[in-house]
């Protein structure tokens, strides 16, 4: 789960990481008031969306897709400029390298006081699968695309791994600071901020914290100028406040509904809907559809113990996508019995008056009963014995290779 920069900064601040004064705004009027409140001559006017590359993004009018302004993050030197930028940003679509061509509507703005920057650094905390520990990464190349830095000048990325038994140790913080070339007051300020950030990461079950840039000011203070924070959704049960931080407008409505029913759904661009049990098998099903020349319309895992109702919901979610021209159901029954799935499929096709071709591949527990139930129905359901046959069949039925 991602949160906005302004929410991330409030969290950083609460944990003692220095950030600049800023105000969250949802209207141009708010932004103008914020300028007065901050009392800073120079302010940053920042689009708030759940995607990176905002500064280099482009704003478009949502109605006619006309170009409005370059840059989703602007430095304003007067109240008039704040008005212009806020007007150009709010309600318009911001397209960045991470949003895809459709972009995202900007509903939130952050107006932040300016500061005197001496140097920009990169800092990130994440869970490292290889070491099975929290990893802290830092670089002197702040403000840059870090993947670019990692590829071209990997020696400029410094890493420390936190031993879960010992926690973040003093020498590690010091060494990382020295690697960044920090000394004296700046080094002390960095080490203090790092402790606070690590505590925030652990206390809030973060999945990733990325500060790009982390800056050193003219008077050697370390400040988080940006904050990209995401949480580990598995830990939601112990963080009641996340509900307030969640911006549902940033998430796909249909993916939220799927999740509420215990389904895992991701929309894709193709035209063959898939309904599968198990994440690995669901991915493999998409792969095999593609292998036989089709394009999957979605990833959909109904989980290990789906009932008739969930199968029905899964079908209705797949069919909401107007691109879907056919559906492939692939179930390897373990705990889930094929006869139950077969009944669910029939109930769903009848209830939703399905009018696209449907291929059903069943295997595993009670497979013969399941197949018999499908065969006995009057519905236009095409059976398949294995995944390859199922994929080939559905590709043929929707009129061949895409």
């Amino acid at each position: 789960m991602n949160i906005h920069e302004y929410q991330g900064k409030a969290l950083l601040k609460a944990h003692g990481v220095p950030v600049l004064e800023g105000v969250h705004c949802t209207s141009v009027e708010d932004a103008l008031n914020a300028y007065d409140t901050l009392g800073s001559k120079v302010v940053a006017v920042k689009s708030q969306i759940h995607a990176g590359g905002r500064g280099k993004g482009t704003l478009y009018n949502p109605e006619n897709r006309e170009h409005v302004m370059d840059g989703g993050v602007k430095i304003a030197f007067s109240k008039d400029e704040v008005q212009t930028y806020a007007t150009n940003i709010l309600g318009n679509i911001l397209v960045t390298i991470q949003t895809g061509d459709e972009g995202k509507v900007v509903n939130n703005l952050y107006v932040e006081a300016g500061c005197d920057i001496a140097h920009e650094y990169y800092l990130a905390l994440l869970v490292d699968r290889e070491n099975k520990a929290v990893l802290i990464m830092a670089s002197t190349e702040g403000g840059m695309d870090i993947e670019h830095v990692a590829e071209n000048t990997p020696e400029k990325i410094h890493k420390i791994s936190v031993d879960p038994n010992a926690g973040l140790l003093g020498y590690q913080k010091r060494d990382l600071g020295l690697d960044l070339g920090l000394q004296g007051t700046a080094l002390k300020s960095f080490m203090k901020s790092l402790t606070s950030m690590y505590n925030m990461f652990v206390n809030n079950d973060c999945a990733m914290v990325e500060i790009n840039p982390l800056v050193k000011t003219g008077d050697d203070q370390i400040i988080a100028l940006d904050a990209k924070i995401s949480f580990d959704e598995n830990a939601e049960f112990r963080h009641k406040t996340w509900e307030d931080l969640r911006d549902l407008s940033e998430e796909e409505d249909v993916e939220i509904r799927a999740k509420e029913t215990g389904l895992s759904y991701v929309k894709l661009d193709g035209n063959i809907g898939c309904l599968v049990n198990g994440a690995g098998l669901a991915m493999a099903t998409m792969d095999v559809i593609k292998l036989y020349g089709g394009e999957p319309a979605n990833f959909l895992d109904v989980g290990g113990g789906a009932n008739e109702e969930q199968v029905k919901t899964a079908f209705s979610i797949i069919l909401e996508d107007p691109n879907v021209k056919g559906i492939l159901v692939n179930i390897f029954g373990g705990i889930m019995r094929c006869d139950i799935i077969a009944r669910g499929v029939i109930a769903a096709t009848e209830a939703l008056s399905l009018d696209v071709p449907l291929v059903v591949r069943l295997a595993g527990t009670n497979v013969d009963e399941g197949k018999a139930i499908l065969a006995a129905s009057e519905l236009n359901i095409h059976p398949a014995d294995d995944l390859a046959e199922g994929a080939q069949r559905i590709v043929e039925l929707i009129g061949g290779v895409a």
Partner: protein, 307 residues
Amino acid sequence: MAIWIEEDAKVLVQGITGKQGMFHADKMVEYGTNIVGGCTPGKGGQTVDLQGKPYPVWNSMFEAIEATDANATVIYVPPPFAAEAIMEAADAFDTVKGEGVVVCITEGIPTLDMVKAVAYVDNRPGVRLIGPNCPGIITPGESGGAKIGIMPGHIHAKGRIGIVSKSGTLTYEAVAQTMSIDEGQSTCVGIGGDPVNGTGFIECLAAFQADPQTAAIVMIGEIGGNAEQEAAAWAAENVTKPIVGFVAGATAPPGKRMGHAGAIISGGKGTAEEKFEAFEAAGIACAKDPSELGAVLLESLKAAGLR
């Protein structure tokens, strides 16, 4: 022989009085697993009925292991308490016996809980953790065997193919593929699809290489991370038995989590293409479609003079 779990291994069930725990404990007994009881704090002294027979429940894993001399435990505890259950089991096995296998089925455990739990288990070298978020481990026997987890027992048969996989249902698919060419399994291990887990691919490959019953290995990976690439590089140096591989997620878009917490391509890393390349570079025979795993395995067995 098999790996880690013998056919007659004595198995405890943590969370045995819960709905999931009881359901699966019953299925395990039905398969022939030597279940010796379970653990639910606060319900010690009670019994649960599995396949018409009573099984004892203990309050703690220490008591349960002392009373039964169990070899393994399987965890069906809800996510908020699962990491603690892993650590309790690891501590108890280590203290009482110096060894034991902990299988965690639970899906949805917070990643930082697993960071802590894995470090805890790693400090107890005699204890092995399998999972979490996995189907478990099964060593099929002549009749019955040791099924420790949620996999459908009836699709398996004793044999000489070792299977290791990140994914549940895709493991079943691999099992069915071995059966389609008249081969059974030595042991099948589901290592789970979470970013931080216990036993990894390399440990499984090493154990299968050392196991006289295992003649060939099927390895199923998925997108995210680089465990598959590391395992492939390791296998190239250390495994002489034929390996057949598949990686799920070739069509998954970057940045979208595909059901499993670990199945996400981030920063262009962990793609299926990258993993297939690593497999091929290591001499692992790849199937581009899981329905071809049987055929590819048969070819590999023939090439090795095993068929």
